[in-house]
């Protein structure tokens, strides 16, 4: 293995930090993240509340830690959902072409024509506003973009001669897709998945803002950010810390995604 580059180390460190915060947050937090203490509301960062308290006097650090698990797991599962669905459908559409392609892409384009936010709202009204409803709704809303990207990559790849060579060797369509097409269209998938991860974090917070996210009082980074808005001038730390968590997680995921993409590509190994 060749040594990691600085940005890969930063990416991994950030992800490790977030994950450990998420794991620790499920067992232990400095204070109870749900305990309301109105005498101590909107306290500035300091002791004993390291990152201050919110408008109900709840400890922000504890809430951030508790939210880490919820927020990252929602994003992670949603993105995995979109990747699995998008890659499967996109690959089938691109490889089969013809009627199958037209059928898949017609539905897909219809879904793409709605803003993903609106689509998620519509789906949430069916699934109900809870963690699993959000994952399902956002997952479905984000799949079409992935389908498009994968289908595009497959369409250009399948004209390459090594795909024909695989057919000549007598390999089945399923084998050809898994062994030859999938690895070669991973690069755009990883790039899209990492940007999607950030987008899901933010959409989840927007949903919270509309009251359709993870229902209060359970904290997520998104709904903490949303509820910080009225107190922006009086207590900026309410918004700064969840925002910082989201930003650093995104940075970590993006750097990590690039690192995976380069590791998986034999052409990059020698560099």
């Amino acid at each position: 293995m060749r040594p990691m580059r600085p940005n890969q180390i930063i990416g991994l460190t950030l992800i490790a930090l977030v994950l450990s915060a998420a794991v620790i947050g499920t067992f232990w937090t400095p204070f109870d993240p749900l305990r309301i203490d109105l005498r101590n509301k909107l306290a500035a960062p300091g002791l004993p509340n390291l990152l201050g308290t919110d408008e109900f006097g709840r400890d922000i650090l504890s809430r951030l830690m508790a939210a880490a698990g919820t927020s990252t797991s929602i994003s992670l599962i949603t993105v995995s959902f979109a990747v699995c669905g998008g890659v499967t459908l996109g690959m089938i559409a691109g490889y089969a072409r013809g009627a199958v392609d037209r059928a898949i892409m017609m539905v897909n384009d219809a879904m793409l024509s709605f803003p993903s936010m609106l689509l998620a709202l519509a789906l949430l009204s069916i699934t109900g506003a809870n963690k699993y409803g959000i994952i399902l709704a956002l997952g479905l809303a984000y799949t079409p973009a992935m389908v498009r990207v994968v289908r595009g990559a497959v369409l250009s790849l399948r004209e390459r001669e090594f795909i024909e060579a695989s057919r000549i060797m007598g390999n089945s369509a399923a084998y050809t897709m898994l062994r030859h097409l999938l690895p070669n269209c991973l690069a755009p998938v990883i790039v899209l998945a990492t940007t999607m991860f950030g987008s899901v974090l933010l959409t989840e917070s927007a949903l919270s803002f509309l009251g359709l996210g993870v229902p209060p009082p359970a904290p997520t980074w998104g709904n903490m950010l949303a509820s910080a808005r009225p107190h922006m001038s009086a207590a900026p730390w309410l918004g700064i810390f969840p925002g910082l968590c989201i930003a650093l997680t995104l940075l970590g995921i993006n750097l990590f995604g690039d690192a995976i993409r380069d590791r998986l590509d034999p052409r990059m190994r020698g560099l």
Partner: protein
């Protein structure tokens, strides 16, 4: 007035800020007004870099590290950008390799031809138009009014190259640089464009620098030739002298790499053909609208063909002749619209024996290998259905790699680490590792450099002899076909024009088309004293060209 037009003195090109990366080393030559000079070399020889640096157009980041280029006595590397712009177009014209991309697809021909006139002359609109009409007539486009209004996509490749030539010659430049001007064109069109180019250059008394990998082509049209190899100029001199008495080993190697016809082979008689094609037709469906389906386009008219065991059958023809479609239909990559393909008398559809015994070697060694798989995986994949364990697979793959001249050291390398020739060896190894009875080679050596091509061809015919597979060898390169084939099939517009034993086709073709095809390319023939340059059937078939007028 008299001095040389271009003087290149000890020119070295290297990567900027990294003088240790030298692209071109110590090249010197002079070009007299009106002279035609050829630069021959394989890919990476630096021939294009030298040509581009003559007008200061070498890629960004590559600089003249030593030496000088003088155009009419003025140093080109020292020129200010404004002076360089005056030089380009007006004094030095250029024709590029790829006529499909060197014209702007969104501008009419008229607008593109007018551009240099506006830039470099003070003519008014009527005078410009008159000049454009004259030059189009000179390159053989008669319907000039139509042509000026047309867009590039309405023209064939050969016509586009004529238009490129027209725009380069419009200002009567003192020097025309032609960088592989006919490499992308079919043989018949190649000859027409080359001859037109030389004629125009002679009429205007311009000098010409012809850059090509094709030694016979350069030898046919140039006065002097420079041979380059990996950035070095290895030989320079009058064409006749370089061909008849090369001084450098590499030039000798190049000359020796040219394909050569061997004696005809006697094939053992067989009871039935390996592959038999009966009235095979292939139709492609054009793009339809939203609801309607596109019209059918016939790529292959009923074709009958037989390939006997151990026989190498070459299919030749211009692009669009259906030769590739024929190969792909036999391989099962394109569905046949009609007719039959029989393998040892059995239909090939869902025929497992056929699937195992028909393999293919593709043209592009960069595209036919999955970039994410190692050589071990690539070649081993062919054995996937044989139920071997890993050790056995590795052993077979290693043995096969040895056979194609690569060896076990290549097992864990990836395609991007290999040269074009090595990749094509891997592709060949993959095709024959299961000992198939029939191989389809679609332009298998066309993308390779001359010397590499010769070695891969030798390997292929050696393997063919030892393994005894039958081979459908699809190629546009008649020299290669002459070396490889037992029998030759000539195709045109989706039909077989002529077929027969190699010697009959090459020595006594019965159709005008075959004769024109054979006479389009200059070839070397080996004589006792060395090599001599020839046209085949020099007088025949001038009118058989396919390059029809546009629109």
């Amino acid at each position: 007035m008299t001095g040389p037009l271009i003087e290149v003195d000890n020119l070295s090109l290297s990567v900027a800020h990294r003088p240790e990366f030298i692209i071109v080393r110590d090249v010197s030559f002079a070009l007299q007004p009106g002279e035609i000079l050829g630069i021959v070399g394989e890919s990476g020889s630096g021939k294009t870099m030298v040509a581009r640096s003559l007008m200061g157009l070498q890629p960004q980041g590559i600089v003249v590290s030593e030496g000088d280029i003088r155009f009419n006595g003025v140093s080109v590397p020292g020129m200010a950008p404004a002076a360089l712009r005056k030089l380009r177009g007006a004094q030095i014209g250029m024709v590029f390799q790829e006529p499909m991309t060197s014209l702007n697809p969104s501008m009419t021909i008229g607008a593109q031809l007018e551009e240099p006139l506006k830039l470099h002359t003070k003519l008014n609109r009527t005078q410009r138009l008159a000049k454009m009409v004259t030059i189009l007539k000179r390159v053989g486009i008669d319907d000039t009014a139509q042509a000026l209004k047309a867009h590039p996509h309405q023209f064939s490749g050969g016509m586009r190259q004529r238009i490129m030539l027209a725009s380069a010659m419009l200002l009567k430049p003192a020097l025309l640089i032609a960088d592989e001007p006919t490499t992308a064109l079919d043989a018949l069109v190649q000859r027409e464009v080359m001859e037109l180019m030389v004629e125009m250059v002679r009429q205007d008394q311009s000098a010409m620098l012809l850059i090509s990998h094709d030694l016979p082509m350069v030898a046919r049209y140039c006065d002097r030739v420079i041979v380059m190899r990996q950035g070095d100029m290895v030989e320079e001199g009058p064409v006749d002298r370089v061909i008849s008495a090369p001084t450098h080993d590499y030039t000798r190697d190049l000359l020796q790499s040219l394909p050569l016809r061997g004696p005809a082979r006697e094939l053992a008689a067989a009871p039935q053909p390996m592959i038999e094609v009966r009235a095979l037709t292939v139709d492609y469906r054009g793009r339809g609208g939203l609801l309607g389906r596109g019209a059918l386009k016939r790529a292959l008219h009923p074709v009958d063909l037989a390939v006997w065991p151990g026989e190498v059958v070459a299919v030749v023809g211009a692009s669009g002749s259906g030769k590739t479609t024929l190969g792909r239909a036999i391989a099962g990559l394109v569905p046949a619209s009609g007719g039959q393909i029989l393998y040892q008398g059995q239909p090939v559809a869902r025929n497992a024996a056929y699937r195992h015994n028909c393999q293919m070697v593709f043209q592009d060694p960069f595209g036919s290998l999955d970039p994410r798989m190692s050589i071990r995986q690539l070649v081993g994949e062919a054995l996937r259905h044989d139920g071997l364990d890993r050790g056995e697979v590795t052993a077979r793959v290693t043995a096969m790699l040895e056979e194609v001249g690569l060896g076990a050291a290549f097992l864990d390398r990836f395609p991007h680490e290999l040269s074009g020739g090595q990749r094509q060896r891997v592709a060949i190894a993959r095709a024959i590792i299961r000992n198939p009875k029939f191989i389809i080679a679609d332009e298998a050596v066309s993308a390779l450099d001359v010397t590499v091509r010769a070695r891969v061809l030798d390997l292929l015919s050696d393997l063919q002899r030892r393994y005894g597979f039958a081979c459908l060898f699809i190629s546009h390169d008649l020299g290669v076909v002459e070396q490889m084939a037992d029998r030759v099939v000539v195709m045109r517009d989706g039909r077989i024009v002529e077929q027969g034993p190699r010697d009959a086709i090459f020595d006594a073709p019965t159709t005008d088309y075959t004769r024109a095809l054979l006479s389009a390319i200059p070839t070397f023939e080996r004589t006792e004293t060395g090599v001599s340059l020839n046209w085949r059937f020099a007088s025949a078939g001038e009118n058989a060209s396919q390059d029809k007028a546009p629109i």
